[in-house]
Amino acid sequence: MRIHRRVITAVLSCAILLGTSVRAQVNNGESIPDVTRTIALTNARVVQAPGQVQERTNVIIRDGLITTIAPDAAIPFDALEIPADSFIVYAGFIDGLSHTGIPEPKEQPNRERPDDPAFPPPEQAGIQPQQDVRSLLDPEDKRITAMREAGFTAAHVVPRGRMLPGVGAIILLAGENANEMVYRGDTALYAQLAGARRMYPGTDMAVIAKLRQLYREAARRQKVEQLYAENPAGLERPQYDPVLYAMFPVLDGDRPVFFNTESVLDLHRVLAVQQELGFPMVLTGLTQSFDAIDKLKLANLPLLLTLELPKEPEDSEEEQSPDFTEVALTDAAVELPQIEAPDYDADFRVSSLVDVAAEKENLEARREIAYKAHVGNAHMLESEGLTFGFSSGSVKPGELLGNVRKMIKEGLSEDAALAALTTTPAQILGLTSSMGTVEEGKLGNLVVTKGSIFDEKGEIRYVFVDGRKYEIEPPRKSSGGDPDADVNPAGTWSLTISTPDGDIGGTLTIEGSADSWSGSLTVEIQPGAVPVEYIVLSGNELTFSFDAPGVGTVESSLILDSESLSGSFDVPGLGVATVSGTRTSDPEMSNQHHN
């Protein structure tokens, strides 16, 4: 009798919550306990696995597991019922590789230069194969919520770092504390061609050489260890070495290396060293892999494709740099008509500076083709019979689904896309018995959408992780700048550039007026100024780029008001540095200065 009353109370309060404050329960993550761990999604269209759809079906989740999937499944008396007539239920997405749950360190540890850059301590050189990501998890990391809102319920996460950042784990994207999030540890050793800064190994070639050294010495050391374990008599005691010992499971074939590649060159290099040393490997990243299809087929390795896509190129007149216009004008003794056709002519030939406009148009057409090749990479892999899962890498969670949709627009089938989000990462990560499909007995990890997840208008309404319900607000578009704002960037700006290695001061000088901005940048300690190029002011957003010697082109995006600015420098290979600044001289003063 007493029990019965309790149930009624539970059901009642459940109904109240459903009507009023479900979101509060979801979002504050605080003290209100779950009223029920039983959920019934009724009359839903259920995509159990890619290509396998059940119409008007009930899905019952109890105690974190999917217990029943059947059209006429009885709704348990204690269930929270969600009428899902207009919804589609998918298996929760699994992120093949990312740093979700591991916040970016505010300050880079080991900032100081080692005594001898030739022999730095391993952790300073980014060699930490013994590091366990489970010790680094932070349930407060904002990316966890953001990933969940993008439909991801589980993620394979690895530590941040350089060459060998450590060992990964599978986490569920929910939980009050790190332990609750961990589904399984000790998944894989993460590796990347990322050299240390101003110490060995600094370059890609040194990272490769260091990997050979580590692997071969670890192999030798393991044999010595075995000899010693059999019988220590008469043998010098082998000394413990955390780095080498962390390689033993890799040598034994028990711990695969998830090796990240950011270009097709990386891909060739990583494959070469893997084939030479023979460690078990999952190849991740795969940017530009459309250019190495045959090699990928031969290698026959599990693949995780990054969801990162290049920015869509903009072909526009405004994009022209001042230099470019100058050249074109100086030589434009004869005005040539603008060519309309956007098609790329591979055999295009024009004498230098004679028809710059046509040449530029041709180059833009080629760039467009290159962009499409990148977006079409997933389709290329699919059509060549290569199976792959997706990984979110460092892509903003809000862009993930959009990028999948772009790939579908370039030919990727929806089934392959769904497989890459669910079943394939489950296979690669050894999770097929518990995740990846909507099946009885599996974890209650689901994505519930209105409209197809792959449709532009499709919206995620609920995400279930481990049976916990998260209601998702329809996404709101965030705008960086205000396109209607009217600001004048001319003048001198004092900058603070926040890098992982600490703050750096600088000075940005912008001159000119609309359509013919020019400028320069100086950074403290470094003598001399570098020219700032491709300056575009759009509303209150100022974008430009500059060349950092030896690193490449740094892209900058800053939001201005009359007295201050904030934004970022995107440094190739090193990441994004936050920039803030204040105006130190106004346009008039800067003009006077030059008169």
Partner: protein, 457 residues
């Protein structure tokens, strides 16, 4: 023992053999003036290449079925030019973090997309010796490639079977980077010698330790091997003569120092790179058997290379030093035939001697003279076809052939010959001069963003 053998064979397989099947072609170059370099100049002569190999050289050769014909009437056919010192087509040049980095190899970071490869082809260059930079006393291993433009698997650039080589460097570069830059040895020329001797001595001890272990392992199954050291593995291979040294050097005194060191450690193969004061010690170089790979007329770009002469090539050649002229540059490599011609103005070398500086001589220095460097039956079908004699200032290269395949043809030289385009790259503005690939040997690798944003110690 088996373990070490395994290591060595793995290294060998990786460094020496090409897993990829490289395409070859058949072509008949008809009726040109064939400058064989090793066997005189033949008028109205045909060169038949089959399966990438020169099958026949002679007059009025028949055209085998399916073989395309290039009419070279009035043209000059020479062996593909070989650049003995280049930094094109690689993603890293210097691993400048340590004064000894023998274990790294630029062959691990080849970049077949580098447009400089195509530009080199345009200048008739068919092979380049891609070198580690000169920041370190003992730099990384180099890679000899063929300019197979359009093949994007880095393995397909490698010249399979070419001997392994390594970069050494004397003088100001290593002392500046490590001495001044990191307050480490070497800070002086004396320090450079110290680093050389110390490293060779370590390699000898390493060899001894392994030999001792291998001996002991015959009778003792519980013998414990010495630690594996990839750097000393490479140094050992230098001692055994399996890796050829190419040493960045300018001054006569430090070059003689190097020869002393090598003599003490029993190392025979040495090609001196730049060697601007070679003319001062040409007899000594000849006596040692050292080779020289030089610039035609470039010096005084820093103090240690203040003193040189455009007669260097002629003086070295006349003293019996095997000499080549290299580019060390993604620009100069397009006109190495002009650079070779300068040895005629300064020193009066014969046509054959001048052209040898960029063909058979660099081939000998790289240990590939049995394969390329001259037009001979049995050698690789690597040719450059010029409209005039290649030592004429009016000469323009028309076609470049590698392995019997035309990889450059002036007739199909479109404006945009890139193999890959970064979709996020801005459309490049017209520039008259770019310093890309220029003289990257002097690139210290410390000019990274870190320096740019932080400090330049």
């Amino acid at each position: 023992m088996r373990f070490k053998t395994l290591f060595l064979s793995a290294v060998f397989v990786f460094g020496g053999n090409c897993l990829a099947q490289v395409p070859t072609g058949d072509v008949l170059v008809r009726g040109g003036t064939v400058i064989t370099v090793t066997n005189g100049t033949l008028e109205n002569t045909d060169v038949l290449i089959q399966n990438g190999i020169i099958a026949e050289v002679g007059e009025n050769l028949g055209t085998p079925e399916g073989v395309s014909v290039i009419d070279a009437t009035g043209m000059y056919v020479m062996p593909g030019i070989i650049d003995a010192h280049s930094h094109i087509g690689i993603s890293n040049v210097n691993e400048s973090s340590a004064p000894v980095t023998a274990q790294v190899s630029v062959g691990d970071v080849l970049n077949p997309y580098s447009i400089s490869i195509y530009r080199a082809l345009a200048g008739g260059v068919t092979s380049s010796h891609l070198m580690h930079g000169s920041a370190n006393v003992i730099g990384g291993q180099n890679e000899t490639i063929k300019h197979r433009w359009g093949l994007v698997d880095p393995d397909e650039l490698r010249m399979a079977g070419a001997p392994r080589t390594i970069k050494f460097a004397l003088g100001e570069n290593p002392t500046r980077v490590h001495g001044r830059g990191s307050n480490k040895r070497p800070a002086s020329r004396m320090g450079v010698e110290y680093v050389l001797r110390e490293t060779f001595a370590k390699a000898e001890r390493y060899q001894e330790a392994w030999a001792q272990y291998e001996e002991e392992a015959k009778s003792n199954p519980r013998a414990v091997s010495p630690e594996y050291n990839s750097q000393l593995e490479v140094m050992s291979d230098i001692l055994t003569g399996d890796i050829l040294i190419h040493c960045h050097s300018y001054r006569a005194d430090e070059i003689l120092m190097l020869l002393d060191v090598l003599e003490d450690f029993g190392v025979e193969h040495i090609t001196l790179q730049h060697v601007n004061e070679g003319f001062k010690i040409a007899p000594e170089l000849a006596e040692f058997g050292a080779s020289a790979s030089i610039f035609a007329d470039w010096w005084a770009y820093k103090f240690e290379v203040y003193y040189s002469t455009a007669y260097n090539a002629a003086i070295l050649t006349r003293n019996g030093v095997l000499t080549s002229i290299n580019s060390d540059s993604g620009e100069l490599n397009r006109h190495l035939y002009h650079e070779a011609a300068k040895s005629q103005k300064y020193g009066g070398l014969s046509d054959t001697e001048a052209l040898s500086l960029i063909t058979i001589n660099p081939a000998k220095q790289l240990g590939i003279a049995d394969r390329i460097g001259s037009i001979e039956v049995g050698k690789d079908g690597d040719l450059a076809i010029f409209d005039r004699h290649p030592l004429s200032v009016y000469a323009v290269n028309q076609k470049t052939i590698v392995d019997g395949i035309v990889y450059f043809d002036i007739e199909s030289d479109a404006d945009d010959m890139r193999l890959s385009v970064d979709p996020e790259s801005p459309i490049e503005t017209a520039v008259l001069h770019s310093h890309d690939d220029d003289h990257r040997c002097l690139h210290e690798g410390s000019l990274d963003l870190y320096d740019f944003l932080e400090s330049n110690q």
